[in-house]
Amino acid sequence: MTGVLPIALEEATKVVQALLLTGKEYVCIMRTHREQPEESIREALNLFEGVIWQRPPLRSSVARNLRKRTIYRSEYIEGNGKDFLFKTACEAGTYIRKLCYDIGEVLGCGAHMRELRRIRSGPFTEERLFTMLELVNAIDLWKVNQDESDLKRAIQPMETALGYVPKIYIRDSAVDALCHGAVLTVPGILRLDSDIERGTTVAVMTQKGEAVTISRTLLSCKEILAAEHGLAAKTLRVLMPRGTYPKNW
């Protein structure tokens, strides 16, 4: 199992939960235990699109309760009768190994996952991937030659992880209160994403694009636009250190 593994450093570990809301994408090689025509595999992949039920595998890191996961899309790529390559976009926590097993059950021949590569985790794709060797070299360059250019490229700001999380941009004067755990109120809001409903997990941002908090909205986008005052979002996690912006409260 290889591919995209975003590693959050120190304080950035707080954004991982939000990152997980923005989906994953894999390429997988599945082996069927009897020869199968391409058409059957295509049909089986279609069958497992949408909301599916999965019980985590015997050896897994979570409780083995039946759970609901969304497969956004599965795309057949190629096959030779027994080994089939496909791409699948799904919600975090979907077991692709289990998907292969279940496809084998539907086909009646049995199947298992042979290889898996993650090609996306939210905004992170194969485009700016760093190998372990490249990271070691970047760290060496920094420590030995005081050249931080490669390491700076390897470590992306945590805001990158929030790329597909709905956002609310706020006034500078509202920032520090949130850093102290305050609830975001309507007058503090400048701009917001159109898909925000009540109860949406959002990233609250400064105008410069810095993440302030991960919050849960108490009002929808429409309600926020129409309101003049009131509580807009409850803070779940504070990301920005206190005192980054002036205290205005």
Binding site: M1, T2, G3, V4, L5, P6, I7, A8, L9, E10, E11, A12, T13, V16, L21, T22, G23, E25, L58, R59, S61, Y72, R73, G93, R97, L116, R118, R120, S121, G122, P123, E126, L129, T131, M132, L135, I139, W142, L151, A154, I155, P157, M158, A161, Y164, P166, D172, I189, L190, L192, D193, D195, T206, Q207, K208, G209, A211, L225, Y245, P246
Partner: protein, 83 residues
Amino acid sequence: MNPIPPWELKRELLVKDEEETLQEYGCPPEDYALTKRIKFGIINMDKPPGPTSHEVVAWVKKLLALDKAGHGGTLEFHEEIPR
């Protein structure tokens, strides 16, 4: 109709009010210095086939002398099939 993956959702940024931002406070994330990145950053690692996700995280933690590091979802082999 299947649900749309988050990275293909079309959303619009709506304006409630406008205001200038103070130049003397904060900093756009793309300008974060290396020290700030080490504390508030993410490495998009290409996980090799050998070690587990946890082992890769532990290794990065040691390399950069971090107190804390975490990853966004295991990419495990060991986790399901021991060898």
